[in-house]
């Protein structure tokens, strides 16, 4: 040590001695694993919408909806889908892994994560044909009564695999050619529906061995070319609400053996129609049974092909009265979700040009902005699940 430093060290040592006498040593500390904050109904599960640069390492982020603090993280693999069980105890993670990171043997699997510890308890191996898609919430669906887990496949021929949740075994694979998306009947565990390219819905029934016992195709419900339905449907009691590219609301009842819908209605008034306001985004629809309001991400100057434009405004629509009851500026919302409570909170995952993945919290009744996270909380954002 140079003389100067030795002097400094000496002086410091003296100082340190003087100081030490005044203070007790800091206590010994121990590592451990933090407890996950219990879900007060505002816990957000948000998958990263296919992060541009690391498709094989998508994640499900667990975020505190009240403070936007990060609570934990789970892998969502490559083009994964996820869902939360009706009893909130399990997160179903259906995804794909490769034995050598981005190459090698493909493994499709459903993992069952414990939502109180975020630890995977068990898994079901799938045939390597699950639908590898951007994040929409209609490709992994729990049946009524939490008896089955329904997994969308695409090779690109489409089918649905049925998993028995009591044994975690795959019971069967039911062909659904030309159709996509899974809408579980709210009453019968052995029934689901799917939307088809000819504008109809196919309803399929299966027995407790997963064997198909019947299928019925609906009449034409929508025109896929002129006014297609966004594939994300939201539950409203027995019905499932869809919005179309041009802003019509289709309320479809999938509970029966054939799908039926009420007459579709539009919530876009003349002035807004002239400015060509249209719905857009990847999952820009949410519904709260508590206040009967439908929330939709909207953008102006809509044209053919603008249906994935992030929202410039979020509109609140009263489903019973078919009228818009509120509008609020949006930071480019791509996904919406509401908390399951009276006076619900509305959450949006935003992709404001260039800045990916911020989250905003609104008062669901007044659309007042209650808070916005830092701009890069997420890398891309994806469907939100709030239980």
């Amino acid at each position: 040590m140079s003389p100067r430093t030795r002097l400094a060290a000496g002086v410091a040592a003296v100082l340190a001695l003087v100081a030490r006498a005044a203070w007790a040593d800091l206590p010994i500390e121990h590592t451990g694993v933090a407890q996950l904050k219990p879900d007060n109904g505002h816990r957000l599960y948000i998958v990263d919408k296919f992060p541009p640069a690391h498709a094989i390492d998508s994640r499900i982020h667990v975020i505190d909806g009240d403070t936007f603090a990060i609570l934990g993280q789970m892998s969502n693999g490559s083009f994964g889908s996820f869902a939360i069980s009706a009893d909130h105890k399990t997160l179903f993670n259906a995804t794909t892994f490769f034995s050598r990171g981005d190459h090698g043997a493909r493994t499709d699997v459903v993992e069952y994560y414990d939502t109180s510890t975020l630890i995977p308890r068990s898994e079901t191996l799938l045939a390597p044909k699950r639908a590898m898609t951007n994040q929409y919430s209609v490709f992994l669906v729990e049946s009524a009564g939490a008896k089955y887990l329904l997994v969308q496949n695409a090779t690109p021929a489409t089918s649905v695999s049925v998993i028995d949740l009591s044994t975690k075994a795959v019971l069967s694979e039911i062909e659904t050619a030309g159709c996509f998306g899974i809408y579980a009947s709210s009453k019968l565990p052995g029934r689901f529906a799917t939307l088809c390219g000819d504008g109809t819905a196919l309803t399929v029934d299966f027995d407790t061995h997963g064997k198909e016992v019947g299928r019925r195709r609906s009449s034409t419900l929508f025109d896929p070319d002129k006014d297609a339905l966004f594939i994300t449907g939201v539950k409203m009691g027995e019905r499932t609400l869809f919005i179309s590219f041009l802003g019509n609301v289709h309320s479809i009842d999938f509970s029966g053996d054939v799908a039926k819908q009420d007459t579709p209605w539009s919530f876009i008034g003349a002035a807004d129609k002239a400015a060509r306001w249209r719905p857009g985004g990847y999952g820009n629809i949410a519904y709260s049974p508590f206040n009967g309001q439908l929330y939709v991400g909207m953008h102006p100057n809509g044209v053919e092909g603008s249906h994935k434009t992030p929202a410039e405004e979020i509109w609140k629509v009263d489903v019973a009265r078919h009228v818009v009851t509120g509008r609020v500026k949006s930071d480019g919302a791509n996904y919406l979700q509401v908390s399951k409570e009276a006076h619900p909170l509305l959450f949006s995952v935003n992709v404001k040009e260039g800045i990916q993945g911020s989250v905003t919290r609104y008062d669901g009744d007044t659309l007042k902005v209650l808070g916005t996270s830092k701009p890069d909380l997420l890398e891309g954002g994806g469907p939100i699940w709030v239980e």
Binding site: I56, M132, A154, G181, N301, G305, S306, K308, E353
Partner: protein, 166 residues
Amino acid sequence: MSLFDRTAEKASRTLARRTSRRGVLSTLGRLFVGGALMPLLPIDRTYGRTDPHQTDATQCDYWKYCAMDGQLCSCCGGTGTQCPPGTEVSKVSWVGTCLNAHDGKSYLVSYSDCCGRSSCGQCYCSANVRERPGYEMAIHNDVNWCMANSQSSYHCTVSVIVGVAG
């Protein structure tokens, strides 16, 4: 066509200046439909809108990318039509119909993914002319079209003209 070219040129410059290349929102559509100009076929404008006059394969608003969703292989060691070395072309693909203003024709464009590597991460581009959800799988661009390859990890996307759409 030069009148259109200059207007389109100005519009795409505003388009580029005002918004980052990735999240390109342009008013080009309105210019054509609402403006005083002779309106062409309503050209689709969406998140990452394409411009029928634009012919640079590394730019998101290249006319052939009107139904593109993914990362442009031309930024990843490939070209507009060729996959980067080390990847393989997807066995299945989706199609779009895109207008090329230079000859006023609409072409059938096939989009193939390049597979076997983790995503390239450069030049993400999303445009959705006549694109539809997965119940119309052949014209749907939100699925991984590497799905049928033995090596099905998504890397980037190329596009090729397969014919005039008539």
